[in-house]
Structures are given as C-alpha cells and as structure tokens.
Symmetry: C2
Subunit: 338 residues, 2 copies
DNA sequence: TCGATTCGACGAAGCGCTTCGACAACGGAG
DNA sequence: CTCCGTTGTCGAAGCGCTTCGTCGAATCGA
C-alpha cells in the first residue's frame, strides 16, 4: 500500500507538503499541488486511517448501540441503523455497529479504545446503565428516543413527539365522527419497562380523550399472539361497538387485521383503523390512514446531534412534530353504528 | 485517557512489559503480571485501537456493504446487518456499515484507508463492479448470496440453496396431494437483474415440476401493488383452479393474502399457501408452512468466511440445505377440487 | 542596492503501540 | 571459580501521519 512518503517521492516533494495539499491548511503553489495530486492518483493513495487517528485523536467514526435482546429482532432497528449510517456519511462519519448483548461492556471497549468519537444509543430505557457508563467516560453521546428526564438533561436526544402523535390520531378520528375508539397501545412489557414512546403514547390518548370528549378505551398490546387475539376480540366485542381502532403497536399488525377480519368486521366500513408509527416495509399499510414515524428525519437529526456532541456543544433536544401521512383519510362511522 | 506509559509507570515497569502482559507473547513473572493488571484496572486503561492498527496493519474490523437503492429499504438487510455484527464479534471483529449508494467508492475508501480488514458484500449482482474493485485491491472479501460463476470462483460465498428450497417446497406440496400449483417467484426487476436467488428459485420450480409431474405455473411477482393483485387474481382464476400457492417473494405477503381473501378463498382449505424464505418479523407467518431463510446460520457462516479470507486461505463456498420449518404441515387439497 | 517582508516548501518531533535485540541476574555444570 | 544457558525485563526503533518552527528565495520599499 502506498504511503505519504511514496507520494512525496513520486511528486518530488516532502511528505509534509503532501499532507498540506490534502488538508489545505497551508498554502501550496498551484504547480506543486497538481504534481502531488497526480502522484496520488497514479498510486491510488489513501491516507491510512489509523495513522490519522493516532495523530489527531479523531476517528471519524460513530458507534451505534443497537438494542439486542437475544432471539428477538425489532424490524425497525435495522432500518434505523441503515438510515443513520447514511446520514452520518453526510457529515464525514462512518458508523460502527455495537450489538453486544452486554451494551455497557461493548461501549466501554469502543469508547476506551478510541475506535469511535461519539455514540448513538437506540432504545434507551429508564436508568439505562449504558447512559451512566458513557457519562462516566465523558463520551459524547446522543439518544434516539427519550423518557428519563434526569439522564437526558445532560445529553442530546431526538424523538417523535409520541404524545402529540397519538393525540393527533385520536383528534382526527374523533373529528371524522367516531365517538367510541379503541387505542391499541404499546405491549405490556414495553409499558412495564416504562419506555418513553409507550408512556408518551398513553399520555397522548388520555389528553385527546379529555379534549374531544370521545370514549377512548386504552388496551395494551401483548407479545403473545393468542393473548393478543383474545384481548382485541374482547375490546371490539364491547357494546355499543367501537367504530375505530388506533394502533400504536404495529409489529403484530397482520395478526390484528386478521383477527378483525375473523370477527366479520370490514375495514374501514365497520371499523376505521388508524396507525401511529411505521413498519419498515410499507406493503399492506398504505391503504390505512396513518401517522408515520419519520425515520429519515430522525436519522438525520440523531447523526447531526452526535457529531455536534463531539464538539462539546451543550446538549440539544429535538421533538419532531407528528404529521398525518398523505393518503386515505379516516372514514366516518356508518350511520347505523352511531 | 490513560496510555501504556501511564500503566507502566504506575506498575513500575517498562511499557514493553505492559504490552507483553497484554499480548502474552513473552513470559512475564506472576508478580509483575499482577502489578500490571492492577494498574490497568485502576486506570481503566484500554489500548488505543489506532496505535495498534498502525503497528500491526490489522484493524479487527469488517466492512459490511449494505445494498442501498435510494428510497428503498429491504427489511431483511437490516436483520442480516445486525446478525452479522453479532457473529463477527464472536471472532473478535467489529462491523462497520457501508451504505454509500456508490458502493465502489465507499469500499475503495475503506479498504484503501485500512479501516477494515475484509469486506462482506450483500446482494451481489451479476458482474458487480464492487467485486471487481475489491479484487483489484486484493482485498479479502466474502459474498452473501451467489450467482455469477466467474467472479465467485475466486471469492468465498454463502447462500441458501434456493434451487433446493423451492424444489423442496414443490415436492412437499405435491406429496400432500396438490397437482395444480402456482409458484409466486421473485419480482420482475429481480429476475431482470438476474439475482442469484431469483434464478435459482426458478430453476428449482422447474426441476421439481418435472420430477413430480405436478403442474407448476410460474408467475413473477411485481413491485407495484396493483399489478401484483391483478397478476395473482388471474393466476388463481385459472380453471381447473390451482390448489396451492408457493411464495418466494414474501415482501408483499400481506397484500397477497388479502387478495386471496378478497377472492373468497380460504387458507388453507381452498388454497394451501407455502412460503420460501422469511420476513424479518415472524408475526402473521407462523401459521403457514414454510422453508425459512436461515439468517443466523448464514450470518455466522459469512462472518467466518470473511475472517478466514484475511488469512489468505483459498476461497470456500457454503450452500446451505433448506429445511421445512417445524409447524403446521401442508394441508391436502379438498376432495372437491381434485 | 540593501534590509524587511512574504511565500512556499522542508525537516523533525511525536501520537501510542508492538517487537526485536540486548542485557542483567541467577543457577547449574564443568 | 568460571562459563554458559535461562529467565524476566528493558530500551529503542518504527508504523504513517500532522504540525510547528525554520529557512531559502523572491519581492518590495526606501
């Protein structure tokens, strides 16, 4: 592999001159510059990243802590990982994945070894030990999602405003004429873990229920398919029958829809279904009114905040306002069911 | 941040001694070893990765080239990325994501700068320019998926045996008594791009059709939802009616199933549905007989092959045998439809 | 014409680590 | 008692890059 010395020799200059051509931090004559550039092109030279990092104490790498529960996979995580990587490149950074089930150990290793300049944490939980560890190391960090006020005052984060998102869904549904609404919230275990999106979603539903006067029954989702079906069936079997279903826990959406169909309910004539959030693949959901998770916007924001954090700027928080996706509107309840 | 010199001073030894304790490449007395270990623990010392890499020309990082068509996201890619990262850690490697739409430029940059020791390429196409670029750089490379014989003789790869997988699905379906089968193949654009899995899947269907004597109608899938529905409807409307549907293009599965339901066909009584491959989220598919994509097994294999390739070993190829997933079997056709 | 200034390029130091050769200290063999 | 092999540790070199101080040459004003 070619080194800066090789380039210098070929161009007939000193290594430092090559370096200055590359960085532009000192003036180099037109003539010398083009000789150096020619030599670089001929040799296919790339500066060795390790040497740069050793000198400058900057790796131009972000580490992304991907949530990892053994045996489980949340489809959205992969999508975020890829989009964040895209966004980071726009700032000149590469992204290293950290999927160790023991997130703390992995982050210590990577932060300690200088492999990365900053960390992005996904799926942060209440009193997350990773947050504490990174703070102790004084390692620049940005969080995707929020919830725990104490930790987060000192760190940057980005999140969809889940409270506003669910509130918006309820408001729009009520505005379409629905008076009896089921809100299918996050799953039991997410609520038990007090995940930010789960908590904020519940808040939004309550808020908008008060505001609109509609009757909103909140039902937590379940990881287990049988439980899920039973719970949905009982929620929809209430009389007078609910006319709209707002779903935040989208992962088992096919199951939910199949159960709705099995009950003989047509969507949207008998039951309006509104989604809050997104699945990574959009197939089969475009037909439903929904409030999308702005993955691209969130990814761009988290990459930006992580890069900023390297520069010791004070922490910033971005709460993204929800928007109803363009597409089908919410169908009013049938006259018979009012 | 603590350096090896700090550790050495604290332990009252030379820096080289600390290095030897860490690497174990020379014998160091019990006494000195424990003094060094104590100093390391007290200072929270981690060797600087850049310095190591500079000396040893080994970064202990793999670069993963994630396929990236702007605006599109294939749900399986994220899942593979995460599982490959997991597997690589087992070999002591971290994984860097490369999501540049211009894959060649990104790989040149990363390979040239020594940021990674080997590359893993996902979704390799016929005459993929990335493969050529990496070969020119003599950069260790492993491919996930296969298709183009010429390139691949020199490189390691892993793949599910798609031909055998589809053939197995057809065989099992025929064995259950079905004589008129629709094979829902990869999408038009995948076939046009001559993707390995698409080609091999078609081969498998033809092979097993000859073998079993069943009538297998091959229908390519489509990216566009309307086209998809129309095509499926016409395939299933043939008379005498097909009694089984084998699906390789799973991404729009919800759409397919909803169209089947819309035609008034019950699954599996009127139409047996068999899946080949997997979606990243299993919700809603467990109920169907299927041949899973062995993501974990493939990820483990590709990580292993990539690490091996660093050691200049000759290329190896792993073709993974398909297996019918445990779960519901294939329901025979109803007597009336025979 | 001569000192002062500017311009462009150079040389060397040093980032933190590994590794090779050297070298005390020690013990056993001759 | 000397010699030599072993054992455990040290010192220095060097990986490739950036950056600071320096310096010759060209330029300019007086």
């Amino acid at each position: 592999m070619a080194t800066i010395k090789d380039v210098a020799e070929r161009a007939g200059v000193a290594p430092s001159t090559v370096s200055y051509v590359l960085s532009g931090s000192r003036k180099i004559s037109e003539e010398t510059t083009s000789a150096v550039r020619a030599a670089i092109a001929e040799l296919g030279y790339h500066p060795r990243a390790s040497a740069r990092t050793l000198r400058s104490a900057r790796s131009e790498v972000l580490v992304l802590a991907v949530p990892r529960e053994p045996g489980k996979y949340r489809a959205m995580d992969g999508r975020f990982a890829i989009e964040i990587s895209d966004a980071a490149r726009g700032h000149g950074y590469d992204v290293l994945m950290m999927t160790d089930p023991d997130g703390v150990g992995g982050l210590r290793r990577i932060a300690g070894s200088g492999l990365a300049d900053a960390a992005i944490l996904m799926a942060v939980a209440q009193e997350d030990p990773r947050v504490a560890a990174l703070r102790d190391l004084r390692f620049p960090t940005a969080l995707l999602g929020h919830g725990d006020e104490r930790d987060e005052a000192e760190l940057s984060w980005v999140d969809l405003d889940w409270e506003a998102a669910v509130a918006l869904a309820v408001r729009e549904t009520a505005a379409a004429g629905h008076r009896r609404i089921v809100f299918w919230a996050s799953a039991d275990h997410e609520i038990a873990a007090r995940r930010g999106y789960a908590m904020h979603g519940l808040d939004g539903a309550r808020l908008a229920a008060r505001e609109t006067g509609a009757e909103v029954r909140v039902r937590p989702s379940a990881a287990d398919e049988a439980a899920l079906r039973a719970r949905l069936r009982s929620a929809l079997a209430a009389r007078p029958a609910p006319t709209a279903l707002i779903v935040q826990h989208l992962i088992p959406l096919p199951v939910l829809l199949s159960e709705v169909a099995a009950m003989g309910l047509r969507v949207p004539e008998d039951l309006a279904v509104v989604l809050v959030g997104s699945l990574p693949e959009e197939h089969g959901t475009q037909a439903l009114p929904r409030i999308d998770l702005p993955v691209g916007q969130m990814s761009a924001a988290i990459a930006r905040l992580a890069v900023e954090a390297i520069g010791q700027t004070p922490p910033r928080h971005e709460l993204i306002a929800p928007r109803l996706a363009p597409g089908p509107g919410i169908v009013p309840p049938s006259p018979a069911s009012r």
